[in-house]
C-alpha cells in the first residue's frame, strides 16, 4: 500500500485575534478527542516509554579545566551564495567592461562562477581579452546576444584562476649583488589551449552575424552630447 499522504496539520482552533483562539481549553480537549483515545486505552492516555539507549562507555572526568571560563563563539551556519545575476545577463550576452585594464571593451559572457564573478572572454583574437573573471558591478549588460550553446565551460571555476603560490627565496649575501633574476611568469600552455578551444567555437557564432566581429573589436566610449541615462543598451 502506498504511503498515506499526510495532509498539512491544520489547527482545529481558529484564531480570533492574535493570541486568542475561538475555543476554550475544555472545548479543545473534546475536539481533539483525547477522551476517545483514553476510552480506547482504558482510562489512561497511552504512553510510550523511551527506547532503551545502547550503553555508552562511562565518560572520564576531564583532566584539565581552564582557569577562566572560555567563551564559545556564537554559532554561524551562514553559507555565502553567489551574487544574484542581473536578469539582463545571460550566457552569450555581450557585456561592456567599465573598469580595469580592459575598460570599454565589449566582451562575451560565458557563465557565473561559484564565487559570484562572471567568466568572460574577448574572444582573445578579436579584442585581446582572455578568459577572465569580472565583477558584475563593473559591467553593463547589453541586449546583444551571441550563441554560446556550442561552448563547454564546465571545467572552469575559481580555482582555475587562482594565483600561483610563490616559493619563498632565501636571500644570501652574494645574491644581493647579483642582478635580480626576474622570473617571468609564463602563461602555461594549458591555459592557451583552453583559450583557443573556447574561442574557436565562439568565433564561428560571431562571424555568422554581420558586423559583430568589428563591434566586439571596438571599444565603447561616450561621445559629446551622449547622455548615458538616456542610452538604451
Amino acid at each position: 500500500m502506498a504511503q498515506k499522504q499526510r495532509t498539512r496539520k491544520v489547527s482545529r482552533n481558529p484564531e480570533l485575534i492574535r493570541g486568542i483562539g475561538k475555543y476554550s481549553r475544555s472545548q479543545m480537549y473534546h475536539k481533539r478527542g483525547i477522551w476517545a483515545i483514553k476510552a480506547k486505552n482504558g482510562g489512561v492516555f497511552p504512553r510510550h516509554d523511551p527506547k532503551p539507549k545502547p550503553e555508552s562507555p562511562a565518560e572520564k572526568t576531564p583532566k584539565f579545566y581552564p582557569a577562566d571560563d572560555v567563551k564559545k563563539p556564537l554559532l554561524n551556519k551562514h553559507k555565502p551564495k553567489p551574487t544574484k545575476l542581473r536578469a539582463s545577463i545571460t550566457p552569450g550576452t555581450v557585456l561592456i567592461l567599465l573598469a580595469g585594464r580592459f575598460k570599454g571593451k565589449r566582451v562575451v559572457f560565458l557563465k557565473q562562477l561559484p564565487s559570484g564573478l562572471l567568466l568572460v572572454t574577448g574572444p582573445f583574437k578579436i579584442n585581446g581579452v582572455p578568459l577572465r573573471r569580472v565583477n558584475q558591478s563593473y559591467v553593463i549588460g547589453t541586449s546583444t546576444k551571441v550563441d554560446v550553446s556550442a561552448v563547454n565551460v564546465d571545467n572552469f571555476d575559481d580555482k582555475y584562476f587562482s594565483k600561483e603560490v610563490q616559493k619563498k627565496k632565501k636571500k644570501g649575501e652574494g645574491e644581493f649583488f647579483e642582478a635580480e633574476k626576474e622570473e617571468k611568469s609564463v602563461l602555461p600552455q594549458q591555459k592557451k589551449d583552453d583559450q583557443k578551444t573556447v574561442d574557436s567555437l565562439l568565433l564561428k557564432a560571431i562571424e555568422s552575424v554581420s558586423d559583430l566581429k568589428a563591434y566586439l573589436g571596438a571599444r565603447f566610449s561616450l561621445k559629446a552630447g551622449v547622455k548615458p541615462h538616456e542610452l538604451v543598451f
Binding site: I96, R106, T142, S143, T144, V232, F233
Partner: protein, 132 residues
C-alpha cells in the same frame, strides 16, 4: 504673418509637456481662456492647458464634445493617423523615437553606415572637383 492653425473644435494637437507628453489629441471643447477639453481614442477625456498643446495642421469634423465612438469614427474618416505619420513633423518624431531606442550594437552599425555613406559622398565630390 497671420495665424494659420487655430484652436477650434476638431483641431488635432500634440501634448508637449507633462505626463501625456507626445500624445496626439483632439480638442473637443474650450473650457475657458486657458484650458481645453481634449480627447483621444485611447485616453480618458480630460482638460489640458493650451500652453501644454502644440497645434498641428490636421483638423477633423466633429460637433462639440462628441461621444467616444463618434470621435473615433471622425478620426478614421479624416485619416488622422496616416496624415500625421506622413507629415514632416510626424516623420521627424518617429525618427527621434527610433534613434532613442537604438541598441548599443545598432548604434555601432549606424556609425559604420554613416562612415560608408560619407566616403561615397566624398568620392563623388572629389570626382567632380577633378573634372572642373
Amino acid at each position: 504673418m497671420p495665424f494659420k492653425r487655430y484652436v477650434e473644435i476638431g483641431r488635432v494637437a500634440l501634448i508637449n509637456f507633462g505626463k501625456e507628453y507626445g500624445r496626439l489629441v483632439v480638442i473637443v471643447d474650450v473650457i475657458d481662456q486657458n484650458r481645453a477639453l481634449v480627447d483621444a481614442p485611447d485616453m480618458v477625456r480630460s482638460q489640458v492647458n493650451f500652453k501644454r498643446l502644440s497645434l498641428t495642421d490636421i483638423k477633423i469634423d466633429i460637433k462639440r464634445v462628441p461621444k467616444k465612438k463618434e470621435l473615433v469614427k471622425a478620426m478614421e474618416a479624416a485619416d488622422v493617423k496616416n496624415k500625421w505619420e506622413n507629415s514632416s513633423w510626424g516623420r521627424k518624431l518617429i525618427v527621434k523615437k527610433r534613434r532613442a531606442s537604438l541598441n548599443d550594437f545598432n548604434r555601432f552599425k549606424l556609425m559604420l553606415a554613416k562612415i560608408k555613406r560619407a566616403a561615397v559622398v566624398r568620392q563623388e565630390l572629389s570626382k567632380l572637383k577633378k573634372s572642373t
